[in-house]
Symmetry: D2
């Protein structure tokens, strides 16, 4: 059995890790780290776990945890892992970091967007960006995995095939993303109260959301050059789910015509035909968050807008699963040589 | 592998059966019966099943199905199963009926509350009321299981221990139940449109809901005599979940005092301590539907109101799981001698 | 123009007062009291008021306000008004208190249920309980009005006619109430976050909610004696609305029969036929919160359950309007001799 | 008093017309047209109107209605008004058409996008497109007003100032719109059931929604030439509200720099400073649907994305008010020389 520790186990992403690992055959949780609830029974905080989880919350002593665990998940605020990471920890244990600390290659970009000084830039180089469908092989050999952001996973997987195939101009890429409210975390903020979120939709972080550079970096690798995108997140009155609607100009052929649907779909199939968790929907069917809720699937599809010469790409995932805890478990499976889908084949829950 | 057929596979209860059986190790679905969608791919109707379910919808030919299956689930309107059931079908296959056709022992009561003539009263006698925690042993030997209603399961399990122990006066029992909207089914009715249900709560079927006689009959067995209860269902703007708040006068002791909490809780423990799926919450903690969503658990608890001399009993379950498909699978497990929890240990999904 | 001041203008009830008073022809708001937001523009906190309200938030200096206003609304935590009220304030200005400070006649009962010492018991005697439909004449002559609680208003108006007419046994009264989440206030608490409330229903304060003694006192006046009731509030995933479902045993006639529907409805009509804001629905129609949202109406109705001999009484209102700010304005209208409906004839908003 | 008739009074837009006209001082409703509910009391269908509206539903006899009314609102399916309109009707009565029949100047464009033959193209020429803030003067003189679509109103008013001022390249315009579910109407369709819409977000009509040509035509007038835009609507789990997020490349100055925020905001102020119903929010504040709910306001704002050289324009309105019934009343006010804001100064309802 793989012994897993979770730092930040009482946030929504941490709690989803607990849910997924309880159904994972090769893992046992040995550490429920939660600075806010030390010594309290985990099931007193998340009562869905009553009679399922017996453990109590512990502090976030990474060094002690490293001695007891084979893998550590850090579902913590930005800056935490960078501030405590040490070589001897990495020698003892694999780490899957759900924060942004090691997602961005260029430390200056990280520091600019996150407004904090990076305390451990020396580990950025070895960290692998854990978007499994793209970096599977590198993840297998890693000690430190930077688990992608929720918006990022959805945005990248939605646009990746057309960027990679050179069928769209990546600098025209506009990503309009909509997220359920669990993405905002469990902190007690007025803005996230039921009455403030319900019966409302709003954009936020316009032209400045921190997932932007992460999307640009990863899609830039696919494009083979630096790119700049517009990214706008929105808050939707639902618990889970991210929907991305992405727009980009198609690259016309030499004769001025647009690429056809066959070519477009072939680009998606080339990337995802062998992938269990990315489902390319039949032509004409739009992804919807309800069809992936509670599961590790990402549904994607694309429409050609002949009139404007644009591709409208769409993707949907559950922000707490494929957008956070599910992908973290997928990375853990890769790190330990387990079947990549172990513990992750939950059928989406509807309604 | 147990071969399972579902008649009514495209209603919400039927779809939940599909979801649960996809994760059941000993079962394969051989028949997706849906009169409305014959020949259509099941995954075209429930797109969460894309790349998971490959089957197409078939008609509801019970006789043909009986030859191909080991168990049939009928998630059908009232009257359907009674109208087609035959001895040679019951000789071939086990049936778990999610409709009300065989739940009520007294055919006159059935016909009065449901307003239809019962077409097969001869099978009522052998049908076992499939409330597993109460009738486990009889279910094991049955051919025909009447799977309890969603409100009924929640109401009975909430009040059962105090009725059984004679600690409350069952004729003072008032059950105020609140249900998510999936209980109203997938039929296209104006009253169930998003804008009609959202931002609203209402009672319906006041003093006349069909689950009333079912509750009375079963709790009557526990009381050892006929009882009459008040039952009022309400529609709540959420997808899943039933919460029951039940009130009854406590039977005072000879000295005029009320039974104490220790005695009350002992009654619950006596019934449920050995039960996996009924969780008696710690004292002072009220059941909430969010803590059981997506799972087969029922959470129950009780408060003593010293001022009024009443017990306030509460129970919460997921109407599509323990209130329908989950209990049906639990019954199937009993019918086939499998571990009762097989395929049913899903951790509740929150948020 | 009546000059109105609001203490606690940035809570949900305070904000609703602002909304209603903006449409009130005889009133101008002169003081937006909000200790948390002093000097900030009110419309920066409630952006629905952008270009509608120009004022800034002020502190809660009751003495200074008393010199500038004709009426003060206190939408403040329990204990605040009692702690600052003085005779010279009451000599200068009328007060409508939306807190519980002056709702309960017996100071010992108040102190027991609220767990605080009452700082101004000397004003309890003169305070008028501002349930307009019941105490209209006393309100007109008052200096200090205790505006009823939201649950209380709905519970009392729902059961009042049958208690008053002696058609039910008030000691059998069980009130099961369901409220939208705005009733929980705008404080930043984890329990009220969108993801905690959405897709959930729960009871809370079982056998101990503070509105219980208020209901008992007022219905006791109708009954002509002290009564004890069971009251259970529930939290529903919607913004506004309270639905009360109340159960009580009907008093049988000398011949053992139940009172008929004609007699029951006559009791309701006797109380409410002349009332603008209480709508007795046609027989067979259940109140629903959606039909009163945004308005000052209370919809009530009753069903006779012949089998159990009980009346099932139902009532629905908007907790922020008739349950708080609307009733406060109605009281203000009475205090100043205006038409009672001034500013309150908003048509309910649906959907 | 203006006598108003409504054809299609029992759809959501029709019902909102009733709500608004009940509070309009110069209007009385003389005809509640509803083919589906003929002879039923209007308040039996919309119970919020109980004791407020006494009328019964009538058929949709436009000719008879024309003799009894001064203005007719047609909240009807596409093609209806075109199929029954006659010169003698227009001679008797003003018409505000909430359908699309007379919104598109080019009949070929209408017939292509709507897939029906236009039965009265001869009236297209005189119909005035009733976007009051743009075409106020023409509306005043019209007999037939084509009330704009909900998405259209929000999209146009959001982008109009920058298109008009030539500050963006209109052919780069991408409009990503999100709507509450009341926009889908009250028809009993499975796709609009509570459980299908709740906890979900989806795009629909991608690259083919019928509001696209309407937006293109009107913004084309502002641009002074034909333009083509991308428009994608999404369905959001809330009752009311449309949020538009629109993206376009800013036109760089001769020196290659982007226009500054002062210039951008000046363009908005130039269009909207004198407008009551369009609120240009302070810099940095994003429009949210909750702040306009129940009201006739449109909130707009813009962010400059320096990195991509794009403007991100945002607008929010209530689809049933400014997006339908409110704008229709605003047009009626113009048609009859009333103050344009009569009956429309409702404060937005929050929460």
């Amino acid at each position: 059995m793989i012994r897993a520790g979770i730092i930040g186990a009482t946030g929504y992403a941490g709690a989803e890790l607990v849910r997924l690992l309880m159904a994972h055959k090769e893992t046992e949780i040995v550490w429920y780290g939660s600075r806010s609830y030390i010594d309290q029974k985990y099931a007193d905080i998340y009562r869905n776990m009553f009679e399922i989880v017996e453990g109590r919350c512990l502090d976030d002593n990474l060094e002690e945890l490293a001695q007891q665990a084979d893998v550590i998940f850090t579902a913590t605020p930005q800056g935490y892992l960078a501030s405590v990471l040490k070589e001897r920890i990495l020698e003892q244990v694999k780490i899957v970091d759900l924060s942004a600390d090691f997602r961005i290659r260029d430390v200056a970009v990280y520091e600019k967007w996150y407004g904090i000084t990076h305390a451990s830039p020396q580990y950025i180089g070895e960290a692998v960006y854990g978007l499994c469908e793209v970096n599977r092989d590198q993840v297998r050999k890693a000690r430190l995995v930077a688990n992608p952001g929720c918006y990022t996973t959805c945005s990248i997987l939605t646009a990746y095939p057309l960027v990679k195939a050179g069928l769209i101009d990546p600098d025209t890429l506009i990503i309009d993303a909509k997220s359920g409210t669990s993405g905002a975390g469990r902190g007690a903020k007025t803005a996230n109260l039921f009455c403030e979120v319900n019966e409302n939709i709003k954009a936020y972080g316009v032209a400045g959301h921190r997932h932007t550079p992460e999307i640009e970096e990863q899609l830039g690798y696919a494009a083979g050059r630096e790119i700049t995108v517009s990214f706008t997140p929105h808050l939707v009155p639902m618990n889970r789910g991210i929907l991305v609607t992405a727009y980009a100009s198609l690259i016309r052929k030499a004769d001025g015509t647009l690429p056809g649907m066959a070519q477009i779909r072939a680009a998606y199939d080339a990337c995802y035909q062998a992938e269990t968790f990315v489902r390319v929907l039949p032509e004409g069917i739009c992804p919807e968050t309800r069809w992936v809720e509670g599961s590790n699937y990402v549904d994607v599809n694309v429409v050609i807008d002949e009139r404007t010469g644009r591709a409208v790409m769409m993707g949907a995932l559950d922000n707490l699963v494929k957008g956070a805890a599910g992908q973290a478990v997928q990375n853990m499976n890769l790190l330990f040589g387990l079947p990549e889908t172990e513990g992750l084949l939950m059928v989406p829950v509807f309604p």
